[in-house]
């Protein structure tokens, strides 16, 4: 296999915007670089070559689409690899969660505190019970249904991208939704007299 031509960032951009021959050659090199990086970084996941080739193909389309967003703050290939990585992991998450519904992981947004019998630490038990009661009041009283569902789904391990897919939303919007929920809970706990650092110790 011949090595890729070396290009600096300006040349990558020029070549990818260039005439068909130059462009094809740059695309071939970029494809090879992205495939090499992803296949090694994801080696332990035993993915087949076709999966990675599809991911890289989709990545190239996105890169060509976003060339004007490249800000020359890193090497071009590093930037391209961030897009490839997100593409690959997003696709892996989609496959992993494809048979799981939001209902399966969100319990309809109900906040059910842990079973006290499962609290195996005798020390601080009363403080934990009190904190959990406050938290439940705040979750029930201050969060929206959407926020409760998203939080439960996240606590069950469902990635934000997958929550977004099931709610006609996007990862950014889910991040903001949950951030807003976290802020409300933080404020609520403060109002109930909890120092936010102290709550970590209570639950530790």
């Amino acid at each position: 296999m011949t090595e890729a031509h070396r290009r600096n960032a300006e040349q990558w951009i020029d070549h990818l915007r260039g005439d068909s021959g130059v462009r094809e050659s740059a695309l071939t090199d970029l494809r090879r670089i992205l495939l090499l990086g992803l296949s090694k970084a994801l080696r332990s996941r035993n993915l087949d070559e076709a999966f990675l080739e599809d991911v890289v193909q989709d990545t190239l389309v996105k890169i060509l689409d976003r060339l004007d967003q490249f800000q020359f703050r890193s090497k071009f290939t590093t930037w391209a690899m961030t897009i490839a990585t997100r593409e690959a992991i997003t696709e892996l998450r989609r496959l992993r969660w494809k048979d799981v519904s939001l209902d399966d992981v969100s319990d309809g947004g109900r906040f059910e505190p842990p079973n006290p019998a499962d609290d195996d630490q005798p020390e601080g038990h009363a403080a934990r019970t009190e904190l959990v009661a406050s938290l439940k009041r705040l979750v029930d009283g201050r969060l929206t249904d959407k926020q409760r569902v998203a939080i439960n789904a996240e606590l069950s391990g469902m990635p934000q991208e997958e929550i977004a897919r099931r709610t006609d939303s996007n990862r950014n919007a889910i991040y903001k939704l949950v951030h807003d929920a976290r802020k409300k809970l933080q404020t609520g706990l403060r109002e109930e007299g909890y120092d936010t650092r102290e709550v970590i110790q209570i639950i530790a």
């Binding site: 011949t2 090595e3 890729a4 031509h5 070396r6 290009r7 600096n8 960032a9 040349q11 990558w12 670089i33 090499l36 990086g37 992803l38 090694k40 970084a41 994801l42 967003q69 703050r73 890193s74 090497k75 071009f76 290939t77 590093t78 930037w79 690899m81 961030t82 897009i83 490839a84 990585t85 997100r86 690959a88 992991i89 319990d107 906040f111 505190p113 842990p114 079973n115 499962d118 904190l131 959990v132 938290l135 606590l155 934000q160 990862r171 950014n172 991040y175 903001k176 951030h179 976290r182 802020k183 809970l185 933080q186 706990l189 936010t196 650092r197 709550v199 970590i200 639950i203 530790a204």
Partner: protein
């Protein structure tokens, strides 16, 4: 289904560490390349990149992507150079 104590701990940790100036995962993606290059070169990071690092440390999804990114960058090594030369 009741939460486990582990989940409760996760929730409380997230709530306690919430700040007003968090960036989103999309904003994180924009700066992730720079963070990776700082880290791989062992350079001290500046304030703008520290914001990206904070997000990566806080957001499990970006953390997973960042780890794969570092692996991929290590695998490709130094593929760029100046000036452009054909190496085949």
């Amino acid at each position: 289904m009741p939460l486990t104590y582990e989940q409760l701990k996760g929730l409380i940790g997230f709530v306690a560490e919430t700040t007003d100036d968090e960036i989103t995962c999309i904003e994180c993606l924009v700066g992730m390349a720079e963070l990776a290059e700082f880290q791989l070169a062992g350079r001290e990071i500046d304030d703008a990149v520290a914001v990206i690092r904070d997000h990566v440390e806080f957001c499990p999804e970006c953390a997973e992507e960042y780890e794969v990114l570092l692996g991929a960058l290590e695998a490709i090594g130094d593929v760029e150079d100046e000036p452009a030369v054909a190496t085949d």
